[in-house]
Amino acid sequence: MVNGTSTPSAPTAFLGQPRPVVAPLLERAADLAIAQVLDADGVPNGNLAEPDLSQAQLRTMYETMALVRVIDEKGWQLQRSGRLEFWIPSRGQEAAHVASALAMDAADWIFLADREPGAMLLRGASLQSLFAQFFGRADEPLKGRRLPLLLGDRALNIIPCMTQVGAYLPHAAGAAWAAKLKGDKTRFIVYFGDGATSRGEFHSAMNFAGIHRPPIVFFCQNNGWAVSTPTDRQTAADSFAEKGDAYKVRNLRVDGNDPLAVFAATKEALACTDEQGATLIEAVTYRLGFHTSSDNPDLYRQPEEVAAWERWDPLPRMRKYLQACGYWDERAEAQMQQRCEDEVREAVTAAEAMAPSEPAAMFDDVFAEPTWQLREQRERLLAELETELETELETGA
């Protein structure tokens, strides 16, 4: 467990100052300049044009979102039943990250936050390798050194986030600038939350981006909360997007639960990189689940607020759109659900059976070449482990 509350508890009385229930911003999308393609029921509402996507692409979009939801539900169960240490839910945020990641090319670099497993799937990560990461197995790309959901793989051009919220924004901006300097065509996207905008690195990265115009999309998933801290305690500004103005960074607000709008906005941002460099996209979305498996949202937010946002759940919205296009039906849905569940189940079994790291492996990768200190510390540990083993054998413990 990462913090104290590892078991779900019954709704509790608010122990601090109760937060007011905020109606979903998406209900006032037009007033708040939140770009949309679809209305709540998945019908194009004429605000933004539908992006040019093939049936196959649209289905990939939806199926990836759906698979992410299944993974999330499975991960949650595994954590609750004690088989996984920790879980970071992505429920409700599938459209924001899947549609934006889909807008990138495979050669583009992605800097992840922690609620974007769909980006890994879109780049071809196997389900087993994802779950191997969740279980911290030796043979996953990051050798099991990160918390679950801090995903990445160099082979996929995906960089895992540092655990410090927001601290990696300038890493993405610096890398994007480096690509530009080297004359590469690589573009970049970096994911972060509303809370991350308060960190100094947001300021640093935006300021740098305004001056140097690196080819990057700063993708802020404003999900309404940073743990228990709501937007109005995070900033007095009316939107996170407008913060870009302070740095002359192009910016816009988009309905983060509308995959078509997210896709269109991201594509447009990428089209601007040559001229404008960076774009800050605020994707207005909502965390339907717990902050993490250690959280207890009943302590700070009201069920009515969550219920109002359920109406904007991106999955049924997209499904309805696909159905209206004639690309989807109930049979396809049922088959897909079954497939997702089967595949996930198999991946869990396979990943759970994989070996954890050897103790001595922790000494690798501190430096390219270990210092004498590390070499010595490694030898001593191994010697002590041997002694322990002997003692155990002797005492029969």
């Binding site: 601090g16 918390l147 601290a167 960190r199 228990s228 207890n296 200190q373």
Partner: protein, 328 residues
């Protein structure tokens, strides 16, 4: 006397001091409505209002820096950092800000602030959630550091920190938060900063530690006591800056052997200072080199290694045995 967990003792100390002194305020991420992610401050915002228990933006540097300003004006802010793995964003503000105002202004201004930082590993939280940051904050002057390892010490040291006229860092033992329960005399008595506790007297070797590790050291000492010549004195430092040099020196001059245990990395860890100080003061008394048991010089991992990263009882015992069996 009340039975309390470490968490409850910390909450009780803050409630006591806030009721007594209206200048005491709390600020940090999620400390208000939610009562902190560990629930340490649960109920305090309801009781003292949102102006005295302030939910801040996600900005550790800002939390520390605004607390500095509040303290300059005369409040006694308690800044909570959610996990000590995130404190370093505030490193400059603390070590080159908070700790320097008194000196830089010729004593005109002071910064009576507290930084509470949940620390230490053993919760399978991975690198950032398992940090032992003490060494960084002991160098350069101006910061006091306390590390409670029992409910009573949590209560008394946090009170002392709040009342102290200078910046004080409280490294709280996360792994003991809820698992350790004990009698607490909660009548508002502080524990002196700088006073170690001899938790087990002994004659043959001094074992020094602080924080959660103390309990492991004590367990090893008890276990080894069966062997003749293994009467180990266990000292819980409780304060790292200043540390109780008299208690330590007296003990080592008596036992002639010293093993220091901490879960922070070895190099430039707090054990280095203890070893350097003690070898100077007890040179002629030492029967063996001062032993250090610490984490290796690498990050605290999430899986496959973390249980080996943190010194365990076997490694503590091995170091003690090495000291006892040392031969020139």
């Amino acid at each position: 006397m009340t039975q309390m967990t470490v968490l409850e003792a910390l909450g009780a100390a803050m409630a006591h001091e806030m009721a007594r002194d209206s200048d005491v305020v709390i600020l940090g991420e999620d400390v208000g409505t939610a009562g902190g992610i560990f629930r340490t401050t649960q109920g305090l915002q309801q009781r003292f209002g949102p102006d005295r228990v302030i939910d801040t933006p996600l900005d550790e540097k800002g939390i520390a820096a605004h607390a500095v300003g509040m303290a300059l004006y005369g409040l006694r802010p308690i800044a909570e950092i959610q996990f000590s793995g995130f404190i370093h964003d505030a490193f400059e503000q603390l070590m080159f800000g908070a700790t320097k105002y008194r000196w830089m202004t010729g004593g005109q201004y002071s910064v009576p602030m507290v930084i509470r930082a949940p620390s230490f590993g053993g919760i399978n939280g991975g690198f950032w959630h398992s940090q032992s940051p003490e060494a960084y904050y002991c160098h350069g002057g101006g910061m006091k550091i306390v590390v409670p390892s029992t409910p009573q010490d949590a209560y008394g040291l946090l009170l002392a920190a709040i009342r102290d006229p200078d910046p004080t860092l409280v490294l709280e033992p996360v792994p003991l938060y809820r698992t350790l329960r004990g009698e607490v005399n909660d009548d508002g008595e502080a524990i002196g900063i700088g006073e170690a506790a001899i938790v087990r007297p002994g004659n043959d070797l001094t074992a020094l530690s602080y924080g959660p590790m103390c309990h492991d050291v004590l367990a090893v000492a008890e276990q080894m006591a069966e062997n003749p010549g293994y009467d180990i004195e266990v000292i819980d430092l409780r304060s790292l800056m200043p540390f109780d040099v008299d208690a330590i020196t007296a003990s080592v001059q008596r036992t002639g052997r010293l093993v220091v245990v901490h879960e922070a990395p070895l190099s430039l860890g707090f054990g280095a200072e203890l070893a350097a100080t003690v070898q100077e003061r007890a040179f002629g008394y030492l029967h063996c080199p001062i032993g250090r048991v610490a984490a290796p010089d690498l990050p605290y991992g999430f899986s496959g290694g973390d249980e080996y990263y943190r010194p365990n009882k076997a490694r503590i015992a091995a170091a003690i045995r090495r000291a006892m069996e040392f031969d020139f």
